[in-house]
């Protein structure tokens, strides 16, 4: 490659990284400043004390971030386990059985992928309300489990690659379908389950719309809504808001660093449905 082309290439890459990292870096610095310091310095001035964690303490205690993490963890656990059970069961039925309504069932699932969740909330709200789930964590769990067709799709794709002879052999040994599902299908689906856990986990952790709409209760804040509520009481205290942002960001960063390869693969397989 010519010298000019090479320079352009690296220059644009470095510029893109600056554009990505600069807005976050200034937030990191702001989160380490005292209130006084924040108002007397510009965004690019380094904090006086790089170890000033006072804002983080405030964000955690007065900002109810601990509760936010607890609620998110609760919802995350149930909706991820639920999605896996529902998705694998549906995939097992669709891939391994011939039945009269098979085409109809597949069409129902495929058609549902075309309906963007945000468009139907007006009516979904009434259903959640009538089921008595409004303002409980189960509203979010039910909605996260009920509408995940991408996971079913990932499981079906993966099941297709597992030879049918395995379950047939088990049937000859007298195993019933529940046993086959539990002892053969589920363990073999492990890689696909890992993918779904990652995609779903990130989606649930980041979801704002559902908890915002269905769980307005003071004690029901999740990560997203707790951080959103910072805008009120901490309106003038940007250094505390900044600390809240970083608190939310750190788990994502750690997950990304630890699971990079799986995350890339997961999103590529999830998006090309």
């Amino acid at each position: 490659m010519s010298y000019v082309a090479k320079t352009t290439k690296y220059a644009t890459l470095v510029l893109a990284c600056l554009v990505t990292l600069l807005p976050i870096s200034v937030i990191v610095m702001a989160s380490l400043k005292t209130n006084q310091e924040f108002y007397n310095t510009g965004p690019f001035d380094a904090p006086g004390n790089w170890l000033n964690l006072e804002n983080y303490v405030t964000a955690f205690t007065r900002g109810k971030m601990v509760q936010g993490f607890a609620n998110t963890a609760f919802i995350l656990l149930f909706s991820v386990v639920g999605t896996i059970l529902i998705g694998t069961m549906a995939a097992y039925a669709i891939d391994r059985f011939e039945f009269r309504l098979k085409k109809t069932v597949i069409a129902l699932f495929l058609l549902a992928t075309l309906v963007p969740g945000v468009t139907t909330q007006v009516a979904t709200f009434q259903i959640v309300n009538n089921l008595g789930l409004y303002n409980t964590r189960w509203a979010a769990i039910a909605l996260f489990m009920g509408t995940d067709i991408v996971s079913i799709y990932i499981f079906v794709q993966f099941l297709r690659g597992i030879p049918k002879e395995l379950d047939e052999a088990a049937t000859l040994d007298g195993a019933n379908h529940l046993t086959i599902y539990r002892t053969i299908i589920l363990p073999l689906l492990k890689p696909a389950i890992a993918t779904v856990v990652i995609i779903k986990g990130i989606a649930v952790y980041n979801e704002f719309y559902t908890p915002f709409l269905y769980m307005p209760g003071r004690d029901l804040g999740v990560i997203s809504t707790s951080l959103f509520r910072f805008k009120g009481p901490f309106g003038g205290q940007w250094e505390v808001i900044a600390a809240g942002v970083i608190i939310v960001l750190i788990p994502t960063l750690l997950a990304f660093l630890a699971l990079q390869k799986y995350i890339y693969n997961g999103f590529t397989s999830g998006a090309t449905k």
Partner: protein
């Protein structure tokens, strides 16, 4: 419930088999592959959830959209197509379509950037994984966190104003989120920052699935980098670009988080979803809100139908 009990019965039969109480000839499972109800047992829960949380809302929404219901009243008064007429004739309601054009335009910038960086990084590059990680990471960040990061970025004396001051361009400083002429551009740029990484990784994946020998052959034939892009890379990622383009249309109509958190939809930044939510949950006009949602749904369905026509299904498969 008959289905569940049958599974239990089959399980009992299975244990009996293992115990060898039945002759070998009877081993061919009676209820096994033969019982027609089995797949429905496995599909029961997924289908109930699908119907309750996807199909029932769609049907109800159509019905609400023909009424003047406020969301609380016991009775729903039928008003025919009045709500639809209102959406198309009241300019303040129709304006949201205009706002989504900003996001639609931004998605082209987003795809162009993603394509550029995917192409550049598909060739051997120093610190390749580091660059890839940094460019992708914003896509994983919590939307509320991103919105707050960019409120700070755009606020008076915030990051952007300070950058301008650094270069002596103070005269350009302004209300990036308040000025109705540019606030939608600020918001759409934030959206590009957030979503570019996903496009980039998808494009990169598509490019990397091209066999390496193709480039080697092209290089032997003296093809330049640009020619390699034009004749090898571009054709093989066409399907994924087509898909991204369609997603851009429905995506730009469904924008919510960024404008909602950053400006609350003030100063002409309200999007379709913000307005629908406002209508249905703040102003208690469930009928009107439903009509807007139905229109959005119809647009998305039409766009997807066009996509299926233009980009045949099997071509989108990358694996």
């Amino acid at each position: 419930m008959a289905g569940v009990s049958d599974v239990v019965r089959a399980e009992a039969a299975g244990t009996r088999n293992e115990a060898g109480l039945l002759p070998a000839t009877a081993r061919k499972p009676r209820g096994g592959w033969g019982w027609r109800g089995t797949p429905y047992v496995f599909l029961a829960v997924p289908l109930v959830l699908l119907v309750v949380f996807t199909y029932l809302p769609v049907v109800n929404m159509f019905w609400y959209s023909l009424t003047s219901w406020d969301g609380l009243d016991k009775t729903k008064e039928f008003v025919g197509l009045d709500n639809y007429v209102a959406v198309f004739t009241r300019p303040e309601l129709f304006r949201v379509f205009y706002v989504s054009l900003y996001y639609f335009a931004a998605s082209f910038v987003q795809m162009a950037l993603a394509l550029y960086f995917a192409t550049v990084l598909s060739f051997s590059t120093r610190f390749r994984n580091l660059f890839k990680g940094i460019l992708f990471f914003p896509y994983l960040i919590n939307g509320v966190a991103i919105a707050l990061i960019f409120v700070f970025f755009f606020k008076p004396d915030g990051t952007l104003d300070s950058i301008l001051a650094l270069f002596g361009a103070e005269n350009l400083q302004q209300q990036w989120l308040g000025n109705p002429d540019i606030n939608n551009i600020s918001l759409a740029s934030t959206s590009v920052w957030r979503y570019m990484g996903l496009n980039f990784v998808l494009f990169l994946g598509a490019i990397q699935s091209i066999p390496g020998q193709l480039y080697e052959a092209a290089e032997l034939d003296g093809a330049s980098r640009f020619q390699q892009f034009r004749y090898i890379i571009a054709p093989s990622i066409k399907p994924i670009i087509g898909l991204s383009f369609i997603l851009a249309i429905s995506g730009s109509l469904a924008v919510f988080e960024i404008p909602f958190i950053m400006t609350g939809g003030a100063n002409g930044t309200a999007t379709f979803v913000i307005q629908t939510v406002d209508m249905a949950f703040e102003s208690l006009k469930v009928g009107l809100g439903s009509a807007m949602a139905v229109i959005l749904l119809v647009i998305v369905l039409v766009v997807t139908w066009v996509q299926r026509k233009v980009v045949p299904e099997e071509k989108v498969n990358l694996t």
